[in-house]
């Protein structure tokens, strides 16, 4: 399907495709096994200006565009969902600064992030605060010109490898959700350390760690927006980043579909390529249609965000939920088409199933997304 991309968008997509095929696909299995952080690939992305795609030009980026981010993330994910998320998670950690940073904060942090000299991360999740973010226990107490952070974040993508963190902590516990605030914390700040690295089912090239804050003193100017705006920062950030997660899911699905089509044309049974069997063809047709439908939803949402439409919560949730459900179904079907070979680690397809699963879970489970969508629908009807 032709999405009538601009010249610039085509250039971004083609370049990301080239990086994916030449630099990501050949090392995808290696990093899946070793679980090392793929610095060499991120360096290539950085040198190709990929980290500038979601940062405004005046701060050293290329343009602040969610569509750009989606095009790049989709292409990277076709080759490896794990390496792609190292990239996309840096966007997630960067968006709060782009959206809510003061000019000084932007000047201080964005140029290095745009050039990929530093990677970012976003930290809200805690052991007892997943979908229910109001359960956050990490606190930030103001003392003179500083805030002192205490608490534990976990499941933080890029944790330990990122240099720039946006951390959500409670500045006033009595106010519940309105008592949370967002802070920029730099790696190396005394009192800021890292806990265990998670051993994951999929996206194993990416790092997922605990962040530990023990009397971690940060300058008061590292507060993003105002005290009490932590959840607004989070929600607005997720509205921007959910299309990115959707694009990751879309790329994983597209990658699995391509591998499956290639395989069924080569695999011969009963004297014919199995692609000649109607049962196989119908599966392929459904997979391709669902992937295309997901792409339509993802691109449309990304374009809405870029056009400045204020409330995109419903569409963002739809794109993330639908694309990740499609990714799960399409990767499982692709593995089925590979038959017994698909179940073996010698073939690349089982990794796609493992990588797809997380997209239904993180940045709000798909159950939470359905809640957001339904609530919006009901509210719209009540108007």
């Amino acid at each position: 399907m032709d999405y009538l991309l601009t010249e610039e968008q085509k250039m971004i997509k083609d370049l990301a495709h080239k990086i994916a095929e030449e630099k990501i696909r050949p090392v995808a299995a290696k990093y899946d096994i070793s679980e090392e952080y793929p610095w060499d690939v991120l360096k290539v992305m950085a040198e190709s200006d990929m980290f500038g795609l979601f940062i405004p030009e005046e701060y050293g980026g290329f343009a602040n565009s969610v569509m750009n981010l989606c095009l790049a993330t989709e292409e990277f994910s076709r080759a490896c969902g794990g390496i792609a998320v190292c990239y996309a998670a840096s966007a997630l950690g960067t968006f709060p600064i782009v959206l809510f940073g003061t000019d000084e904060q932007k000047k201080k942090y964005l140029p290095d992030l745009a050039k990929g000299k530093k990677v970012a991360a976003f930290a809200i999740t805690e052991p007892e605060a997943g979908s229910d973010a109001s359960g956050i226990k990490t606190v930030a107490k103001k003392e003179g010109n500083h805030y002192v952070l205490n608490g534990l974040k976990h499941f933080i993508t890029n944790g330990g490898d990122a240099e720039t963190y946006v951390v959500i902590a409670m500045t006033d516990k009595t106010k519940g959700a309105r008592g949370a605030s967002a802070f920029i914390v730099e790696k190396g700040t005394p009192g800021f350390t890292f806990g265990k690295k998670e051993d994951k089912f999929g996206i194993r090239a990416s790092s997922t760690r605990e962040l530990i804050f023990t009397d971690c003193k940060i300058p008061a100017e590292n507060l993003l927006a105002k005290e009490g705006m932590g959840f607004i920062v989070t929600m607005r950030t997720f509205d921007m980043s959910r299309p990115g997660v959707a694009a990751q899911a879309l790329g994983i699905a597209q990658g699995a579909l391509e591998l499956a089509v290639k395989y069924v044309r080569e695999r011969v049974q009963f004297g014919k390529p199995i692609s000649t069997f109607q049962g196989i063809q119908w599966m392929l047709a459904d997979m391709a249609t669902e992937v295309e439908a997901a792409r339509g939803l993802v691109y449309s949402t990304a374009r809405m965000v870029d056009a400045g439409v204020k409330d995109v919560s419903k569409e963002s949730a739809m794109a993330k939920m639908y694309a990740s459900d499609v990714a799960m179904k399409v990767t499982v079907d692709a593995l089925q088409l590979f038959g017994g070979y698909g179940y073996m680690k010698d073939y690349p397809i089982e990794k796609y199933v493992r990588d797809a699963k997380i997209t239904q879970i993180y940045e709000g489970t798909n159950q939470v997304q359905r809640g957001i969508i339904a609530l919006k629908l009901i509210k719209e009807m009540a108007k």
Binding site: I12, L15, K18, K23, E47, S48, D49
Partner: protein, 260 residues
């Protein structure tokens, strides 16, 4: 250091189709790319520029669509592109091509170094690079796999041989042809692609170059392609069986009968 890189646009596929009547390449429907060996030449030139300053100029001889090869070179760090393009140059063999490119290089101005890929993936002759150095009367070092040392006056390089390598020192200006072991070509940057899109490509025709008409194009080409064909596949071998000593004896007999 001012460096000139000579590149060639070639068909992407290795299965080139030949027009049986004219014995020339059929380019229709085949995607064109920069000759893979030339990518290493461009990368090495850009790396030298990053170390020593100066500029990298790319030159290619070809049809108007070779413009895209020059822009691709600019997207990975070259500064400017020259397209040597004229019907008068059509049908050039390696001699006429190297004469014409040498003429273009003289027109492009002063340089310290010329880098070429070791050979083109379509013709595989490896003659144009050395031909250019001959026409320009400068030293050449072929099959370079590493630049060990470079100043603006001289260069010390490792030259690959079938077994091992030799170290060669040459004064500049000189011409190098490079092998794929020399570096890993970079992926373009978005800013590079943007720059390439708007870059001005200088077109050099016979009018600007005013070359000897007897030495260019088909009539300046001593090589005449008489026939191009795919060789017949070799017949299958013969398997010998039995005791080792018997096999050895049979083998010696067979060799005596067949060849000697």
């Amino acid at each position: 250091m001012n460096i000139i890189v000579c590149i060639k646009q070639v068909p992407e596929t290795t299965e080139v189709r030949i027009n049986p009547e004219t014995n020339t390449l059929m380019r229709e429907g085949v995607k064109s790319i920069i000759n893979p060996f030339d990518m290493y030449a461009i990368e090495e030139a850009v790396r030298l520029k990053e170390r020593f300053g100066g500029k990298v100029s790319i030159v290619t001889m070809g049809p108007p669509q070779a413009d895209s090869a020059l822009r691709e070179a600019i997207s990975i760090g070259a500064d400017e592109g020259y397209l040597v393009c004229d019907r008068a140059f059509a049908g050039s063999d390696t001699w006429a091509t190297s004469y014409t490119l040498a003429g273009a290089i003289k027109k492009m101005g002063s340089f310290d170094l010329i880098i070429c890929g070791k050979q083109a993936s379509d013709g595989d002759t490896a003659q144009v690079g050395p031909g250019i150095s001959t026409h320009l009367d400068i030293p050449q070092v072929t099959y370079v796999k590493k630049v060990e040392e470079a100043t603006d006056k001289h260069m010390r390089v490792e030259r690959m041989l079938e077994e091992g390598y030799e170290i060669i020192e040459t004064p500049l200006p000189a011409l190098l042809t490079v092998v794929k072991e020399i570096n890993e070509p970079r992926i373009p940057s978005l800013k590079g692609l943007m720059r390439a899109k708007s870059a001005k490509i200088v077109i050099l025709t016979q009018k600007e170059l005013a070359l000897d008409p007897q030495q260019i194009g088909l009539c300046g080409s001593p090589t005449q392609v008489v026939k191009i064909f795919t060789p017949q596949p070799r017949a299958g071998g013969q398997m010998l069986s039995g005791e080792v000593s018997d096999i050895a004896k049979k083998l010696v007999d067979l060799i005596k009968d067949e060849v000697i």
